[in-house]
């Protein structure tokens, strides 16, 4: 089972807990596969509500990755490369959503961007626009919970890429922007992609913040997890089918990405 290593056998103290971890992670998934009423799988997949939810999940999760890349990459760069007072505090604040229960994140977003929220009320007075109950609100909620994952991943990549290359570029006459584009970002690309995948996965599974902030309506705000929860309230068996659809969709995308990016050391 294990290839012989010149260093000797892997100690039981390591591989037994490792086995426990694998079983723990895999058994529920296997159970889900077994419990899925496969007979009705295709029919369930064809219902307009499920297709709408799947399509919405796909669009909003991709939009979330784009949003994370647009603001998260610069933030990660600033945290990794610019020394300023309160940098530690900013980093701590940025990572708070990691530990925030998603529902609390939704409540916080409502307090800020709800129609009577801190920013939402002035926005509504000025333009008549309100964010809750819109697809944009779904993307905002997803970005709020996914951005910390992205920023942490990219900042780590920027740090491990090191400043020596930035300095080399500066001495060679490059501006900081030229250095960022031509040196820093390409070197951190594996971390950027990993951060994007993390953000995408986080977004795809997001439920609490979405349903609290954006609401739940088929076609506009009902993502797959929201659909699954709503169905589960009434019919757990049907919910398992939907969960399986989401699982297959996400595993499919991860497998596509895996060969290219997620294997350690694949992207040198």
């Amino acid at each position: 089972m294990t290839a012989r290593s010149p260093l000797g056998r892997a100690p039981a103290l390591l591989w037994v807990p490792a086995l426990v971890a694998v079983v723990f992670l895999v058994v529920p998934l296997v159970a889900l596969v077994v419990a899925t009423p496969w007979a009705s799988f295709i029919d369930d997949l064809r219902t307009p509500e499920v297709r709408a939810a799947l399509w919405l999940s796909l669009r909003t999760s991709l939009a979330t990755v784009v949003a994370c890349a647009l603001v998260g990459t610069p933030l990660a760069w600033v945290l990794a490369r610019v020394e300023f007072r309160g940098r530690g505090l900013v980093r701590a604040l940025v990572t708070v959503p990691l530990v925030l229960p998603p529902v609390v994140a939704g409540v916080a977003l409502l307090a800020a961007l709800g129609r009577s929220g801190l920013l939402g009320a002035p926005l509504r007075d000025a333009t008549g626009l309100t964010l809750p109950y819109t697809t944009a609100a779904v993307v905002l909620a997803h970005t709020f919970v996914a951005l910390p994952f992205y920023v942490i991943s990219v900042e780590g990549a920027l740090r491990s890429a090191g400043e020596a290359f930035d300095e080399a570029a500066a001495v060679l006459g490059a501006t900081r922007w030229h250095t960022f584009r031509r040196v820093t970002l390409p070197l951190a690309l594996p971390g950027v992609v990993a951060g994007g995948v993390l953000a995408w996965a986080r977004s795809l599974g997001e439920f609490g913040a979405t349903v609290t902030f954006a609401g739940n309506y088929p076609g506009t705000t009902q993502t797959m997890p929201s659909r699954i929860y709503a169905v589960y309230l009434d019919d757990p068996a049907a919910a398992r089918t939907l969960a399986m659809i989401l699982l297959l969709a996400s595993v499919g995308v991860l497998l596509l990405l895996r060969n290219r990016w997620l294997t350690p050391g694949a992207a040198a």
Binding site: E167, A169, V171, G173, A174, T175
Partner: protein
Amino acid sequence: MSTPFLHARLDVPGRLHATVTADAGDVVAVVGPNGAGKTTLVRCLAGLLPDSGELTVDGRSWSTPHALPRDRRVGHVVQGRDLFPHLSARENVAFGLRARGVDRRTARARATTELERLGVGALADRRPHQLSGGQAQRVAIARALVTEPRLLLLDEPFTGLDVGVAATLRVELARHLASYDGVVVLVTHDAVDALTLGTRMVVLEDGRVAQTGTPTEVAARPRTDHVARLVGLNLVAAADGAGLLAFRPSAVTLSPTEPSGSARLRWAGQVSQLTPYGDGVRVGVRTSTGQDLIADVTAAAVAELLLQPGTPVWASTKETAVVRYPVDA
């Protein structure tokens, strides 16, 4: 007297207080023990470390106002490897030209020429990880030279290379530097580098210049233990406090008892270490006054005197083998 090509009075609190001057075409070899401030000096010159001092290069001030690294015309070859790993050798060399607005085609052509000049033209399409240490260092030097810097900073350029590779590269570098009209600052821990490449030598100790001069002067009359060890000389303070004494290890005689003869300098001590050296043995002696001396003796002498670490021994040398010079001249 006109302003020198390079005039640097560098000041980094607690780390570096050094004045370095050089004329066009000079190669300034900077030596000193670890932590003496050699790399700090180079980084200040490149603008990578803030310092409060004065820096004039080729008639232009880089200190008032402070010039950013990208606005200085500096080439920087760092100890270790800082070639961009995601770019080919050619793209690495072209980077500085592209960053300064040279169009792609011209930049590539000049990069190729520069690589050929350094003998690595055939490797232009390789990535850094596909290059050997010596090849990578050639590309790094090409990358620095192609931007026609006024100041070329070489920070331990031969460190980490095989002895043979380093020797070849040293010879080639000497050839390239002969036709270079800016100033080269070469940080090294190898006396051979300083003696073969340098036209001036700056000895740093604790962030301050301990000695300057031509490499030959410094090698003949070292004023710090570090340089003395670098050039393989024993350096001791004269007993009367008036000056320094330098003498070669081969001029040192070891004996089990106090040697006689008036014309000899002598020290009692213990053997601290023994290393093979040429066809003899280099013996380290720690004197009772805490001075470290080295003596080159024959293997037969080691056997006869039963030398091993800890053996009490007398070291002595003839007055006529000693160079005596004042502490500061």
